[in-house]
């Protein structure tokens, strides 16, 4: 049987369905561009759900990410975030967080200061915005409010005892407790399954009944992030009503519910906003033309051919397949763009584990110009119609600097603005 090929034209093709790709599609639709987006969004389940902007600089935890960005501009001008003004970054960040709210995932409005967000092992992470379901945990930490932390039999890698023990020096008054999740007795339990279960009123009531006897005066309760997938704020409100206590979520070991919520929300919302979304496929061929970018996607049943006037490359790093390596060099996988990287493999990783400077390979990636255009081998833009965003970019260390989401959102905004300019100028 001959394979069928669908032909599509779009103003903008977005390669990648992580946070950068999804933000790019939204920003492009805001500008009235037609958008086709291709990628494989599995890696989003590895996020904590926190939307950070810049949490750590030179190994120091930042209280104020905005002045951190100012410092970055003077010390590390190649950092992708240093290529944008705080005004543009704030515009992009605000827009994105507002969008999450419109999609049913309440997030705190980004302010001027980072917040200490809770991590499951009793440590914290500086972040600028966090899910409404997680905010009361940070507040409780800030106030050193007594809290009951609950974990579940069979849920691995999340121990209320561990959380309370490791937090004890900064947050006394924590008390751990363990519950058996209703209907999931004597077996391993997974956050995604618990979250789907908790979308039903019956399960909410059963859980509340189990929590009640543990309260013993506690007004605040921490749980692993399992409070529903589609409408966590509603699930949380309902459980608070049933228990009479304030509830908050703590992220879990991946695949985690906060990331799955984001992925599912985008997969619902983007088509609704007119984006042609192919979230289960990767680009198999990309050709740069003077008039735009042609992409081929090999689907399970048919092929998709996209002719776009411009493209944003937001394909991620090694985990998402945007970069790969052999024993000698790191390569970019979609267009074979040059990758800035250490001279030899011996320089990729530092001698010491968790070297405070970050591993040099963390900052490998593709180089861009001021208009977010990837540079070709000769140091000039590979195309006037190709732009790049997100963690595939060089000169940043998103994990260590706690800037992954902010970098994705801000550079998606910058790349889309530049792409729109190139399309309108034709």
């Amino acid at each position: 049987m001959k394979r069928h090929t669908r032909h599509v034209t779009a103003d903008l093709a977005v390669i990648g369905t992580g946070i950068a790709g999804c933000a790019a599609s939204i920003f492009a639709r805001d500008l009235g561009l037609t958008v086709a987006q291709i990628g494989h969004s599995g890696a989003m389940a590895y996020t904590t759900g926190y939307i950070d902007l810049l949490g750590v600089l030179d190994g120091r935890v930042l209280d104020d990410p905005w002045s951190g960005l100012d410092a970055l501009r003077s010390t590390d001008a190649c950092h992708p975030l240093a290529r944008m003004t705080n005004h543009d970054i704030r515009t992009a960040f605000d827009r994105f967080v507002r969008l999450l709210g419109e999609m049913g995932l309440g997030y705190t409005a980004p302010g001027d200061r980072n917040v200490s967000a809770l991590l499951p092992y009793g440590t914290t992470k500086p972040t600028l915005s966090l899910p409404d379901t997680m905010l009361p945990g940070s507040d409780a930490l800030h106030r050193r409010a007594p809290a009951l932390i609950i974990d579940f039999e069979g849920l691995q890698g999340f121990s209320a005892t561990e959380f309370c023990t490791n937090m004890a020096s900064v947050w006394p008054g924590l008390r751990p407790a363990r519950l058996v999740f209703p209907g999931l007795e004597a077996r391993p339990v997974f956050p995604e399954v618990m979250a789907r279960t908790l979308e039903t009123p019956v399960a909410q009531e059963q859980l509340a009944d189990l929590i009640q006897p543990l309260l013993n005066g506690a007004e605040t309760i921490g749980l692993p992030a399992i409070l529903g997938l589609q409408a966590p704020d509603r699930v949380r409100a309902r459980l608070e009503q049933l228990t009479g206590a304030t509830l908050f979520e703590i992220p879990t070991i991946p695949p985690g519910v906060p990331g799955i919520r984001l992925r599912e929300a985008f997969e619902r919302e983007l088509p609704r906003r007119g984006v042609l979304l192919e979230p289960q496929n990767k680009v198999s061929e990309a050709i740069l033309r003077s008039t735009g970018v042609d992409l081929t996607v090999q689907g399970a049943l048919d092929d998709l051919r996209i002719e776009a006037s411009a493209a944003v490359l937001a394909s991620g790093r090694f985990l998402s397949g945007g970069l790969k390596s052999d024993r000698y060099r790191v390569k970019e996988t979609v267009l074979n763009l040059p990758v800035r990287q250490p001279e030899t493999r011996d320089g990729w990783f530092s001698a010491e584990y968790l070297d405070p400077a970050g591993y040099p390979v963390n900052k490998a990636g593709i180089e861009i110009d001021a208009a977010f255009r990837p540079l070709g081998p000769d140091g000039v833009p590979a195309s006037d119609r190709l732009f790049a965003a997100g963690v595939v970019l060089a000169h940043q260390d998103w994990v260590r600097q706690r800037c992954g989401a902010g970098l994705a959102i801000a550079t998606a905004y910058g790349a889309v603005q530049a792409a729109a300019g190139s399309i309108n100028a034709r």
């Binding site: 590895y46 904590t48 190994g59 120091r60 935890v61 209280d63 200061r113 980072n114 917040v115 200490s116 991590l119 092992y121 009793g122 440590t123 914290t124 992470k125 940070s138 930490l141 800030h142 069979g154 691995q156 890698g157 999340f158 121990s159 005892t161 561990e162 023990t165 490791n166 020096s169 900064v170 004597a186 077996r187 391993p188 992220p251 070991i253 991946p254 790093r317 090694f318 985990l319 970069l323 790969k324 390596s325 052999d326 024993r327 000698y328 030899t344 493999r345 011996d346 990729w348 990783f349 001698a351 584990y353 968790l354 405070p356 390979v361 963390n362 994990v399 260590r400 706690r402 992954g404």
Partner: protein, 530 residues
Amino acid sequence: MTSLRETDVLIIGAGATGAGVMRDLALRGISSILIDRSDLNAGASGGNHGLLHSGGRYVSADTRTAAECHREADILKRIAPHCIDDCGGMFVAVEWDDETFARRFPDHCRDAGLPCKELSTDAARTREPALPGTVIAAYAVPDATIDPFALVLGHVDHAIHLGDSAYLPHTAVDVFEIANGVIEMAMCRDLRTGAETRIRARQVINAGGASTMDIAQRAGCSDVKLLYSKGTLLVSNTRISKGVINRLRVPGDGDILAPGGTVSLLGTSSVTVPRIEDNRPTVAEIDHILAEGTQMLPVLETTRFIRAFSGVRPLLAAPDAGGNARRASRRFLLFDHEDQGLKNFVTIAGGKLTTFRLMAEKTADLVAARLGNTAASTTSTTPLPQGDAIRWTEPGLAARDWYRRADPSDMIMCECEMVAQSAVDDITADAPGAESHMSLKAIAQRSRIGKGACQGAFCAMRVTSHLYDTGVYDSRGGLELMRAFLAERYRGVRPVLWGAQLPQAELAEILHCGLAGLDLMGSSTTGEPE
């Protein structure tokens, strides 16, 4: 806090030799305390191919060592079959190799009494499909592999169960108190807690591997002279060959591919090193081993490797070897130190994993005689028992056990190697060393935890949480021990990070920094909210 312990024999060094001596003595009715500054097999006993040499590697240079290997391997196959994969082996020369040297191999084997069967190129490639068409000579020999961790755990466990013997991990001798040619007391320290233990033993055995020279000097003996040879090996993600494949040439680097259960080990390099502290594998060593190894097995060019490690061979310094460790003797030597003025101190040095039992027997013979014990060694005939808490180093066992028991509440903690919570609980309860607060690292050494493709990225976090739940950890120190475990894994992982392992490394960063905040631990601001 100081405690005093009394015993017949103090054994320093919990590698194969120390564990072997402990069991040999226990079988003669002699009690001992075994101590190690780290833990079981922390040195060369754990840092090797796991090869139970047929002797083939030494036939051309040292007939006696070759014959000794052959005899000892046969004994171990009888007494400890559960620790051994009797997979067979092959010596193979390829186009670039010296054919004249290769053709003399059967004669050398005959001289050492070693069975050896010539194989045609086709027969060799049928047996080992990974071999290339460039094979010019191939001989089958009775090589096998041995799990050094199962072996040592089994020996220590057996000795403990036979009587009054004990094992103390992370314990080292600070000072020997010597009077009238007798070590009267060993002042020891628990390196984790700082607590002092005084051990009064009638005899003291130095089986410290690469540390034997230091330990002997601490007792005032200057007669032990060693040459340190660093060897590096790579671990592949899957098993590449059915049996051991040796390069048939003058022993060099990257010569041996040995199966290790579900994986294969490729090595080694041999670099004479002045000190033994920092024996981490390097990128240059890995690339060198691969360049050599791919000549014999081109498939190695595209093989996925998940880890590397280095061991230090403590070799007896032979006057004719110069600085060349490949030419140094693989023989062992027992020092009675009587000419050094000591009556109750012995050092056992040199040797090989394959000959550890014989080394232990000779050592125990001397010490037993000094104690007036006339019982003969029975280790060449007494089977090594197995036990519930010490069987978890065997690849694939955890998975089989879990499927067989079909208990859905018994969670899998390490998905790569299918190690269940019940196995972790067995080990923390009963494995040798359990009485002294078993850490993630100690559990990993007694199981397959952290040995799969993710190299502990996930299971370190799961096991750590479980150890908090079960009360083994009760402070932030548990998180620091997790970091220390991962730091040690990283040393071995770093030089093989390319290809499919780079996504794993990125995932590890996301988990350990993004989700656990380990990179900010100890920084003044972490955990200190605004």
